[in-house]
Point group: C2
Chain length 235, copies 2
C-alpha cells in the first residue's frame, strides 16, 4: 500500500514525520508542498487536506492530517517501528500522550507564535506583530523551563526519564529547531538558562542521525540566505 507524505521541510512537524519514517525504514513518497509559494492553498491540495496545512498523508485510500495523529498512526500500522517510539505499555504510552498533548498549548504555541511574528511573517506577506511575538516568547521560555526542570528531571537522556526517544522527543525537538530562524544573540539568551534542554537536543540529534541533519538541511540553507540578505550586498 503506497504511502505519500505531503510536507514542507521548513515546517517543523513535517520534519519530525520525515525523520520518523526514514529512521524506521517506512517507505514513502515525499510530495513537496511549499508553504511560502501558497501550494497548500490550491484546490488539488485541499483534496488531500481540507485544513490547508502540512504535513498530511495518504496511505492507500486513507487520508490523515495533524502530525501527532499521523505519527501515532504510523507507529501503530507499521510493525517494524520499535516500541520505544510509542510504547505498548498502557502507562508508558499515557505519559508520552501527556507530553504530546501538553506540547500543543505550550511549546508549540510559544515557539511558532514567536518565530512567525518576529521573523517569518513577511515571507508570507504579513507584517511582523511585536505584541504577539512578545506573548509567544514568554510562553516559549516558560515551556523550555518546564522541559528543563520537569520533563527532563529523571535519570534517562530523553523526556520522561526514558533511555530511548519517543514520538514526543522527536516532535518537540523539531519544533525547537525552528528557533534557528532567530539571530544568534536572541537564540543564545533564550537557551542559556536551560542547559538540560541543550544536552537533550544533542541527544535527540545523535539518536536520529543521519536523518536529523538531512531533514534540517533546507532550514539551514534558508537561514543562511536570510542572513546574507539581512547583511546587504558584500563590498
Amino acid at each position: 500500500m503506497s504511502l505519500k507524505l505531503y510536507v514542507d521541510r521548513l515546517s517543523q512537524p513535517s520534519r519530525a514525520l520525515l525523520i520518523f519514517c526514514k529512521l524506521n525504514g517506512i517507505e514513502f513518497e515525499e510530495v513537496n508542498i511549499e508553504l511560502s509559494k501558497g501550494q497548500h492553498r490550491t484546490p488539488e491540495y485541499q483534496e488531500v487536506n481540507i485544513m490547508k496545512q502540512v504535513p498530511a498523508i495518504v496511505h492507500g485510500d486513507f487520508k490523515l492530517f495533524e502530525s501527532h495523529a499521523i505519527l501515532r498512526y504510523l507507529a501503530s500500522a507499521f510493525p517494524e517501528v520499535a516500541d520505544h517510539w510509542y510504547p505498548s505499555d498502557v502507562k508508558k504510552r499515557a505519559s508520552v500522550e501527556c507530553v504530546l498533548d501538553w506540547h500543543h498549548a505550550n511549546l508549540r504555541r510559544g515557539s511558532a507564535g514567536y518565530v512567525f511574528n518576529s521573523v517569518l511573517a513577511p515571507a508570507f506577506g504579513l507584517p511582523l506583530n511585536p505584541q504577539a511575538a512578545a506573548e509567544g516568547k514568554k510562553l516559549l521560555s516558560a515551556s523550555l523551563a518546564t522541559i528543563d526542570t520537569y520533563w527532563l528531571q529523571k535519570d534517562g537522556r530523553f523526556l520522561l526519564g526514558n533511555s530511548q526517544p519517543s514520538l514526543a522527543d522527536l516532535s518537540l525537538v523539531c519544533e525547537i529547531m525552528q528557533l534557528e530562524f532567530l539571530n544568534e544573540e536572541d537564540r543564545g539568551s533564550i537557551f542559556s538558562p536551560h542547559k538540560n534542554v541543550l544536552k537533550w537536543i544533542d541527544d535527540v540529534k545523535s539518536a536520529t542521525t543521519p536523518y536529523f541533519d538531512e531533514m534540517h538541511a533546507t532550514l539551514f540553507k534558508v537561514k543562511e540566505v536570510t542572513k546574507q540578505r539581512a547583511a546587504g550586498p558584500s563590498s
Copy 2:
C-alpha cells in the same frame, strides 16, 4: 486499584472526564479543586499536578494530567469501556486522534480564549481583554464552521460520520458548553450559522444522559447567579 479524579465541574475537560467515567461504570473518587478559590495553586495539589491545572488523576501510584491523555488512558486501561469511545481499529482510532489534536489549536483555543477574556477573567482577579476576546471569537466561529461542514458532513449523528460517540465528541461538546457563560444574544449569534452543530450537541447530550446534565448542573447554577448579579437587586 483506587482512582482519584481531581476536577472542577466548571472546567470543561473535567466534565468530559467525569461523564466518561460515569457512563462507563468506572469507579472513582471525585476530589474537587476549585479554580476560582486558587485550590490548584496549593503545594498539596502541585504534588498531584505540577502544571497546576485540572483535570488530573491518580490511579494507584500512577499520576497523569492533560485531559485527552487521561481519556485515552482510561479507555485503554478499563476493559469495560465500549470500543466506539476509542476504536481499536488503527484507521478509525487515527481519525479520532486527528479530531482530538485539531481541537487544541482550534475550538479549544478559540472557545476558552473568548469566554475567559470576555466574561470569566474578573472571577480570577484579571481584567477583561477585548482584543484577546475578539481573536478568540474569530477562531471559535471558524472552528464551529469546520465542525458543521467538515467533521459532521457524513451520514452518522456523530463526528467523523460515526453512529456512536467517541472521546472527540465528548471533549468538544463539553468545551462548547462553556459558551453557556455568554449572554443569550451573543450565544445565539455564534451558533445560528451552524445548525449541524446544534443537532450534534443534542445528540451527544442524549447519548450521555443522565450524566451530561448531572455534570453540567454546577455550570448552570453559576450561570444563573452571575445573571442575577448582572441584573442587580430586584425592585
